[in-house]
């Protein structure tokens, strides 16, 4: 009897322990989620040049350790947004909250003296920023691989200039890095170098990076979140992981009779909404499996030429949202 009670007591105790542990784990997870702090908050920012609205009611949030992309065509307002973030231009309305403003490293175009070499240019900024450690200049130059350069800045290639810009932005080990079109005018090798450097800075030094570029495919490799800006407005903020998840839910089908295929699929599965795209059909899968669709097509004597998952690239999302053409690539 006593043993039975002891056993029950032991089980109750064990149950309590497990419950407490699970609550503790949930609390830790909740705390972890909350600890991803917003480092930049932009609220309803408007910037006008005369009658021209360069930024129109722009709102966005950037979290700690994000690599946040800002994409848009020329004159969309990317540089203006960066300049307002850096207080280089005055706002007409709205507000911005930047955590630890002094801790921003940035570049928005070449800002160096053409007659000085890499070391002297960075040394100039080190002195100006009041950084006492003299080895800081060499540290940032080593990070970008320009520590042995003795030529003056005017003799540098585009890639070297961009890397020097990043080096200056890294002075003082900032927590937030703002890079405006860092891959502009650079050859593919240089683009890869800068891309790798950005990822390295984010992963090794835990930097939050805000980056803009016209080369969407390049941004795609590095960012985890991005915003599409068009005519001064943020059309949408996109999470890269959401795009990848949704990519698995769309298939691209090419048959010998496209119209008939569309008719049959709509007739058989009412919830299905295939749309014509290039030579085939784009089919959002929803609850339907791809083999089910393949079966229906084949059973009706239609020849199935091609069937593949669609990978929606950043470019696709961009063109879709800015009313451009969708570009389909194989997942």
């Amino acid at each position: 009897m006593c043993r039975g009670r002891g056993f029950i007591f032991f089980l109750t105790y064990l149950h309590l322990c497990i419950s407490c542990t699970s609550i503790l784990v949930q609390l830790i997870q909740h705390y972890k989620e909350d600890s991803t702090e917003k480092v930049i908050t932009v609220k309803q920012v408007t910037k006008q040049y005369g009658q021209f609205k360069a930024l129109d009611d722009v709102s966005l949030s950037i979290y700690e350790n994000d690599i946040y992309g800002l994409i848009g065509q020329n004159g969309a307002g990317k540089t203006t947004l960066f300049k307002t973030l850096l207080s280089l231009t005055q706002l007409n309305s709205g507000s911005m909250d930047i955590k630890n403003r002094q801790n921003i490293g940035f570049y928005i175009g070449a800002s160096f003296y053409p007659y000085l070499n890499a070391f002297d240019n960075i040394e100039y900024y080190r002195i100006q920023m009041g950084i006492k450690e003299k080895q800081e200049t060499m540290r940032v130059l080593q990070l970008v691989g320009l520590n042995e350069e003795t030529k003056p800045f005017k003799a540098y290639s585009m890639s070297m200039k961009e890397r020097l810009e990043i080096a200056s932005a890294l002075l003082g080990n900032p927590k937030i890095l703002i890079l405006d079109k860092p891959t502009n005018g650079i050859d593919p090798q240089g683009i890869r170098e800068i891309r790798e450097l950005i990822v390295k800075l984010n992963q090794d030094l835990n930097m939050t990076i805000l980056i803009s570029s016209h080369i969407l495919s390049e941004l795609e490799h590095v960012v985890n979140r991005y915003a599409i800006i068009h005519q001064g407005k943020i059309i949408q903020e996109v999470n890269q992981s959401d795009v990848k998840k949704s990519a698995l839910n769309t298939i691209y089908v090419v048959t010998d009779k496209i119209d008939k295929t569309m008719e049959i699929l709509k007739g058989k599965i009412h919830s299905l909404t295939p749309t014509k795209h290039e030579l085939g059909l784009l089919i959002p899968l929803m609850e339907h499996q791809s083999y089910e669709i393949a079966n229906i097509i084949v059973q009706h004597g239609i020849q199935l030429h091609e069937m593949r998952y669609v990978n929606e690239t950043m470019e696709d999302v961009y063109f879709k949202l800015t009313k451009g053409a969708i570009h389909v690539t194989t997942y």
Partner: protein, 176 residues
């Protein structure tokens, strides 16, 4: 502000053309007096020649220093970096002014060394009043250079404001 001044002095010190320019002016000054001495060996001519060259130097040195201290920063957009990292515009303007005063002070010292040592080397017998006259002239020209640079920077700021009144032009320039 001190760090801005230190950085500017470092940059100016590292600018090779600045050194070449000063050497050129120094050699020019000495050369002209050497040639003059072969023609007319009189101390009054030395004074007249020096005064004429000092007057001209305001324009030559002033224009060059304005380029080094003010225009270089505008052309290379380095001020944008300073403002973007939270430095006040007023601090930048003030530090630039102090830098120009310091650089002019160095130029004045160099000029004084030339103006006062050269007559001794060339063997002119100068009265103390002539020395005082030359020192006054050098100081005055130094002040003129500072005033010249301040005025030029005001004109430049004014031009920028005129551009700002035409927002689309300014916007296009910024986008570039």
């Amino acid at each position: 502000m001190l760090q801005h001044i230190k950085a500017s002095i470092f940059r100016i010190y590292k600018k090779k053309s600045m050194r070449y320019y000063l050497v050129f002016l120094s050699l020019g000054f000495i050369g002209v007096h050497l040639i003059m001495k072969t023609q007319v060996n009189e101390s009054s001519f030395y004074v007249i020649g020096t005064q004429a060259m000092l007057s001209l130097s305001t324009l030559f040195i002033g224009t060059y220093l304005f380029g080094v201290i003010y225009s270089d920063n505008i052309n290379s957009k380095t001020d944008l970096v300073s403002i973007g990292t939270g430095h006040k515009r007023s601090t930048l303007i003030l530090s630039r002014f102090v830098t120009s005063v310091l650089v002019v002070l160095v130029i004045v010292i160099l000029k004084l060394l030339h103006v006062l040592i050269l007559p001794v080397v060339l063997g002119y017998g100068f009265s103390s009043s002539l020395y005082i006259l030359l020192i006054q002239q050098v100081m005055l020209e130094g002040l003129k250079i500072v005033a010249y640079m301040v005025l030029a920077s005001i004109v430049l700021t004014g031009l920028k404001k005129i551009l700002l009144r035409r927002p689309l032009i300014w916007y296009s320039l910024q986008e570039l």
